[in-house]
Structures are given as C-alpha cells and as structure tokens.
Symmetry: C2
Subunit: 165 residues, 2 copies
DNA sequence: TTCCGTGCAAATGATTTGCAGGACT
DNA sequence: AGTCCTGCAAATCATTTGCACGGAA
C-alpha cells in the first residue's frame, strides 16, 4: 500500500497489456501518489509541467486512463465536463459530501446505506456493479462564514444537478 | 399536476423573471410534458424538428434551462457530457438504477437511505441541499439475454465512473 | 416602441485522436 | 527491427454565446 507497491502494480498491469513503463508514466504515477486530495487532469498537468522537463497534456490524459484501468485511481464525475481523480485502494470504499458553496469534498462511508443499496438493486432484479452517491450541502465552515468562500470553481454557481429531496 | 397546471407554472415563472411565453417555449413545454422517460436535449430537438416548423437547438437548450429553473424538469448527469432531463413533480423524489449493459434507467426510492443520508450529512456538519445516487448494475433482461442489447449508447463501453464497492 | 427571443454560426472547454519522429526491448 | 510512445495540433461533442433581425407586451 506504499508507493513501491503501487509502482509494482502499475508495472505489472502495463506488462499484461504489452505496454511499457516510460519515464513520463513513472513521473505521473509518482506525482499522483503524493496527492492526497481529489485532482483534475489539468491540475496534475500543471503540477508536472513545472518540474519534470515537461509532459504533454495528452500523455497526462492517456496515463490517467491507464492508472484507472490498473485500479490505482478512481475517477469521479462531480462536476459536468470535469473529471476528478483520487488514489484508490488506500482508503476503503467511500462516497462524497460536496459543499455547494466552496466545493470542498468530504468522504463518507455508511455501511447501512451500502447494504440498502444492494438490497434495492436486488429487489429490482439488478446485479449491482458499482454506484455513485453524492450528497450536496453547505459545509460547516461555509455555514459559519456565510458561504462566500470559493476553493475551486464555485464561481459559476452550478445549480446542483439534482432536485432537493 | 396536469399539463394545464404546468403551463401555468411556467407562465408564472417566466413572468416573475420578466420573460415571455413564446410559441417556441410553449411548444417545447408541451412536448416535454408528453415524454415519459428521460430524454436529452438532442432527442428533444430531433423530436421537435420534425413537426413544429423548426425550433433551433439553441432555443431548446435555453428553454430546458428555464424549465429546470422553473422546477418543471429535473436534470441528471448520468453519462459524462450528456445531460438527461425528466419531468419533475409528477413522481415523488427518486434515484436511479442504471443498467451497465443496455443503459436502461429504473427509478427507485428508499426511505431508509434518504434518512441515512440526512444523518450522514448532519454528522459531518453539512446542511444537506440535494443528492445524487446512482446504482449501476446489470438489469434482469440483460442478465437473461447475455447483455449484448443496447438501448442507448452503451456502445462505447463507458467504464462505470466508480470503483466497485 | 422597446426589450426579449430566436436562429445561425462561431466559440467553448475538457477530453481525444491522427500523425511523424523517438525510444525501449 | 519492431513496437510502443510522446508531443503537437487538429478534431470531437455537448453545450453556450454573440449578433442582428423579428416579435410580443
């Protein structure tokens, strides 16, 4: 579950696909492993552009896809037209609470909900494969401060994509 | 909860915004009210293009946004880069089961999950505003038939955006 | 008469892809 | 040698927007 393991996992994955571990892929993996929060392809690209002698955006996108396939990253669709990634495997499965004011993301896990989901799927004859569960709300800090804070692009006040329950 | 009501609601909404109920907006609302399932802007546009003397795609997009604001439609982000809409208010709140094979969408509602969500939000100090909950799996028909069926674009085998739980 | 709306086409913006020269095995 | 890769730029694709003319209140 440390970097070495994940480099090995990636290495192995690439081998099974007849692919190679290039310096760019190595640099991307290494950087990705240092990021603790959710990040976009763009952010990763910017972060790499500086130091490493430049990795193209196309390669970042291509490598992120590989890392997702290898099971090292999870991919989320919190905001339309803007995927976010996070390290997989270092936490147990979790879903997300998202602040509608500052876009902060907090992870949560609830066994009862997990169980109920399975049950719902079963009741409808579905064999559950995966799920997405996002709760949108106002985080404690924004409630306190009045909510004008913006961490990521909460500027365009994206109406929550969902009706209030 | 019939068409008349919703036309009134829209009319009223437009008035409060200083907007007008044009023939195009009327035609779009009318058509939208006849659709029972989830639909995309593109599909709505195609469906209108035929009969009405042609409504531009831009107007469809603009009007869909108004209908969402007016609370007459709910907007969902099931597939990346492809919003789907559905009539609001005629069913109680619900979430979705989505077949990973044929893209069929089945609605579900589970009070226990709803309650637990509120609880999770509260425990993290969030004031819940809305949520999105999608369960991906193989529907009964696809399980039976082997799953090669494609209703919508299940062609590009969009890897589920989420890790298996 | 005065905004509001519409259609058209061009602009977006994240992501993807075609291509040609490079690199690793 | 033979693939696999990368960087670049051009291509996608759903959605949005700028403009100039037509229309409802």
């Amino acid at each position: 579950m440390n970097g070495g393991d994940e480099a090995d996992t990636f290495q192995r994955f690439l081998r099974t696909q007849g692919l190679k571990l290039t310096s760019q892929r190595g640099a991307i993996l290494e950087r990705v492993l240092t990021i603790r929060k959710h990040f976009s392809a763009e952010e990763l690209f910017e972060s790499l552009r500086a130091e490493t002698q430049g990795i193209s955006k196309a390669t970042v996108y291509r490598t992120l896809a590989l890392l997702v396939q290898a099971g090292l990253l999870d991919e989320h669709d919190f905001e339309r037209g803007h995927k976010l990634y996070e390290r997989a495997g270092n936490h147990a499965h979790h879903d997300h609470l998202i602040c509608v004011s500052c876009s902060r993301i907090v992870e949560f896990h609830n066994d009862e909900i997990e169980t109920l989901q399975e049950k719902v799927a079963r009741e409808h004859g579905f064999e559950m494969v995966s799920h997405t569960h996002q709760i949108f709300g106002v985080c404690p800090r924004c409630k306190r401060e009045g909510g004008a804070r913006t961490r990521r692009a909460a500027s365009r006040p994206r109406a929550p994509t969902h009706p209030a329950p």
